[in-house]
Symmetry: C2
């Protein structure tokens, strides 16, 4: 699948078929995450592949209602984590006003994962609204690692329409902020 | 270009030819950012297309030495910004222990931009290490908006090798954190 076709065509999928997702497909998806760029190549993102239905059920219980079904029903939940103290750091300290850049680097990898999954016919939905501390305890995530995102993944059982996007001129500017970029 | 080919083949490019990048190409790249997913479709990322060489020179001066040449020499510097108070919020407040998710959503869009650029033959390099407050003043960025990333963009004048990546089993785990995923 072409890059721009994947970028435009990817939708968040919340309903999944029960069919499993094989290891080879999972490897391709995870490789996509591994190849994302990162702060000075520090590679802070980590991913836990959760297939165990009891663990998925427990993860579903720490999401608000609207999102729990995807976590419960998807054959795989990728749990995106990040090692702290790497991204955004230089010589033992933060070097920007953003502090630790773990959220940024994890998202770069997650976007790769979502695009790769879509190109293989798989659906995903990024879920940030859940109790990350409880997820960390459930998956034995160490203290210096943050749980960032739940990414249910599986074979789509719906074809949602694209949510409305802002116009390009509302989000892209020329030379100064607020001056619309109109090609 | 195929999705996985772009994900694996994209390299950070720090040396650019002086040739300009036309508006139609810029539109395609920016569209890729616009189509990224975001927290409850709140779409916080914004992009300023800087071509003016005097402004690029000023941006170069607020980067540490190693990165300033890319900002000075690339025909375009995309400046990624984010509206605060949207991503990670629900009913007027943050709902997770991560606070505002602007870094996450901006990175999702930036990864799309970098992949789209690469698929068009363009190079980019993400730069987070610079004085974001000075960049904001330079580009008239309002108080409730953060400047996040400088993304020099242009026609590559180098073919760098891929920096070493961690093995898949070091970054991908099965069921529990730290238990290698080996497909």
């Amino acid at each position: 699948m072409e890059v721009m076709e994947a970028i435009r065509g990817r939708r968040s999928i919340r309903k999944f078929k029960p069919d499993p997702v094989g290891d080879e497909l999972m490897r391709t998806v995870l490789e996509a995450g591994r190849w994302a760029p990162s702060w000075a190549n520090t590679q802070c993102p980590r991913f836990v592949v959760v297939r165990d239905s009891e663990v998925r059920e427990k993860l579903a219980q720490i999401c608000p209602g609207r999102w729990s079904a995807s976590v419960r029903d998807a054959p795989v939940v990728l749990v995106a984590c990040a090692e702290l103290g790497k991204s955004g750091w230089y010589k033992g300290g933060w070097v920007t006003d953003k502090g630790d850049w773990f959220m940024f680097d994890t998202a770069l990898a997650c976007q790769n994962l979502m695009l790769a999954a879509y190109s293989l016919g798989l659906g995903t939905v990024p879920i940030g609204y859940f109790d990350a501390k409880k997820a960390a305890r459930l998956l034995d995530v160490p203290q210096d690692v943050q749980v960032v995102l739940l990414l249910p993944l599986g074979w789509p059982d719906e074809k949602p329409k694209a949510p409305l996007r802002k116009e390009l001129k509302e989000v892209a500017f020329a030379e100064k902020y607020g001056r619309p970029f109109i090609p």
